[in-house]
């Protein structure tokens, strides 16, 4: 074997597969994309920020935590989410659409019954092509003013139809109501739905006995209620949450920087969880917390979930497309958004037809 061949082997061994988050780097390209209808120039900056954080959090949670943790846990604690009732879009092909809703949880499990104390931070429609080779991540801005159908709240109360922000569908009707709303708006058959409670991470971290993180510089951020010294240290759940949420007191204040910090944190969390396999007491406490933070519909059983996560892990980042539902400021209230109907329709037609 000659030296070049040996070098190639060494190269192969040193190589890492691109993570799904690599696609986020595309956002660094100058936004001077004049006239791009999917990114109106007058769209408030924070929407993109939220969408990105949401995506990063949802994808990271899905890719890292769920397979390592949730799938190992046999029983599922929370009651499954009922799928929407009434007429639903037909399923035209083998593509898979999954609605992911991330919530900020509030104290205690977000879905103890009425679901009223949880807010949805993040809504993402995940599209896996029929051959599972392509992944589309469509984020739905939570402040979109949309028509919400009549729903029955998790507590059993009837909630009448109305026009309101889409995240209010979650607050009043729970995940099934968002599911129904999204199906009606998009005419896309949504096969499964999953709810992830991000506040559960605080409890997960505590159940793990803290996460070791290197803090590059001392932090004193009253806004994030965070005070940390510089250097390597173990963060408890509260501190860890502040650490991943803080924006201005850490790093360069950009969303990208924060997303990276979140990813580092999630990786550390997954590693620590992985290391617990020999500590059954702590592990079971952790699995309890983790599975309480994730809730799905009954149809999303373990094999289905595993296949979704597997295809997410296998998918090359070039094949992951991040899109936001085309929106513009709402004419009646510039702090709210309305969907750009024709552009949104083009996007969802592609989803329905699984068009590449």
């Amino acid at each position: 074997m000659d030296d070049l061949t040996m070098l190639r082997r060494l190269g192969e061994d040193l190589e890492h597969e691109p993570p799904a988050t690599l696609a986020l780097q595309r956002r660094r390209l100058p936004d001077g994309l004049p006239g791009a209808p999917s990114r109106p120039l007058n769209r408030p900056r924070w929407i993109r920020g939220w969408a990105m954080i949401g995506l990063a959090a949802a994808i990271t949670a899905a890719v890292l935590v769920a397979p390592t943790v949730l799938l190992e846990n046999l029983g599922r604690v929370a009651a499954p989410v009922p799928s929407p009732t009434g007429a639903r879009p037909t399923k035209p092909n083998e593509a898979l659409n999954v609605l992911l809703v991330g919530t900020d949880g509030r104290p205690g499990p977000a879905f103890r019954g009425n679901g009223l104390d949880a807010r949805s931070d993040t809504m993402v429609l995940l599209h896996l092509s029929a051959d599972r080779g392509r992944v589309g991540v469509v984020s739905i801005p939570r402040d979109s003013m949309v028509r919400i159908p009549a729903c029955v709240s998790p507590a059993g109360t009837a909630v009448p139809a109305r026009t309101d922000m889409i995240n209010s569908a979650f607050a009043t009707g729970g995940l099934s109501c968002v599911w129904k709303t999204v199906e009606i708006l998009t005419k896309v058959r949504v096969d499964h739905a999953m709810e992830i409670d991000f506040s559960g991470f605080r409890e997960m971290v505590d159940a793990l006995g803290g996460i070791e993180i290197t803090v590059p510089q001392a932090v004193d951020d009253p806004k994030a209620k965070l005070k940390l010294r510089k250097g390597r240290q173990i963060l408890n759940g509260e501190q860890a949450l502040g650490y991943v949420r803080a924006r201005y007191s850490l790093g360069d204040g950009t969303d990208l920087e924060r997303i990276k910090r979140q990813q580092r944190f999630m990786r550390a969390l997954a590693q620590k969880a992985g290391g617990l396999l020999t500590d059954p007491v702590r592990l079971s406490a952790f699995l309890d917390k983790a599975s309480a933070a994730i809730r799905t519909d009954a149809g999303l059983d373990l094999p289905t979930m595993r296949s979704i996560f597997d295809s997410l892990k296998e998918t090359r980042p070039e094949a992951v497309e991040f899109v936001t539902v085309p929106v513009r400021p709402h004419p009646a209230d510039p702090h709210r958004l309305e969907w750009d109907r024709s552009a949104a329709e083009r996007l969802f037609t592609r989803l329905r037809e699984d068009a590449g």
């Binding site: 074997m1 000659d2 030296d3 070049l4 061949t5 040996m6 070098l7 190639r8 082997r9 060494l10 190269g11 192969e12 061994d13 040193l14 190589e15 890492h16 597969e17 691109p18 993570p19 988050t21 690599l22 696609a23 780097q25 595309r26 660094r28 390209l29 100058p30 001077g32 994309l33 004049p34 791009a36 209808p37 999917s38 599209h127 092509s129 392509r134 589309g136 469509v138 990276k260 090359r316 980042p317 070039e318 497309e321 899109v323 085309p326 552009a343 083009r346 996007l347 592609r350 989803l351 699984d354 068009a355 590449g356």
Partner: protein, 197 residues
């Protein structure tokens, strides 16, 4: 699937067409990102590890975007150009890179991606000589290493390497020869099984 709906069908479009289009329609540039970000990530992850790679790939495209007006449209394939930009950015991290190879020299298995279980005997030889190889890489002059790795890891031709680094082909040859001589010397010294071609 959901290519942002602004993006026209780009299948089969040459890189140079995209670059030309991006002069008047900057969003056309993102198609290059979709095409090559994974490829560049793999390359950079080999040299610097996954920690820096993501950021560096983003930076590569940022630099490329800024320089797109200077791209010679006679070349349909933009890969050498992108590899060249990434390589220049990698060289800013030469300490990280050398440390990475040196670490490999000390602990040949750690930090190395798992390889498929069944590999032939030759592979065993490759594995045992890996620390030596890594040590030799760490010891190369940075410019020689750039040329060697663009050839060995990116499969560029001499001409493409010359273009990507902005140096004459003759210089590519001489740097490559020097680098390979050093690598072979290291291997030859350490591995009695190895035969000179």
């Amino acid at each position: 699937m959901v290519h942002t709906m602004t993006a026209p069908p780009t299948t089969g479009t040459r890189d140079s067409d995209l670059l030309e289009e991006s002069l008047t329609r900057p969003e056309a540039f993102s198609a290059l990102f979709d095409r090559y970000s994974g490829m560049l990530y793999r390359y950079v992850s080999r040299r610097l590890g996954p920690e820096v790679a993501e950021d560096l790939v983003g930076e590569t495209f940022l630099v490329a975007f800024g320089r797109r007006a200077h791209y010679d449209l006679a070349y349909a394939d933009a890969r050498p150009w992108l590899f060249g930009i990434a390589t220049k950015l990698v060289s800013r991290h030469h300490r990280t890179e050398a440390a990475r190879y040196r670490a490999l020299r000390r602990a040949p298995v750690e930090g190395v991606v798992e390889s498929p279980a069944e590999r032939v005997v030759a592979e065993v030889a490759a594995r045992t000589s890996r620390p030596v190889l890594a040590g030799a890489l760490a010891g190369l002059a940075a410019k020689d290493r750039d040329v060697l790795l663009l050839i060995a890891w990116c499969d560029l031709s001499y001409e493409e390497v010359a273009r990507s680094l902005g140096i004459p082909v003759g210089t590519v040859r001489s740097r490559l020869n020097r680098a390979r001589r050093k690598v072979r010397a290291a291997l030859g010294d350490a591995d009695p099984m190895h035969e000179e071609e």
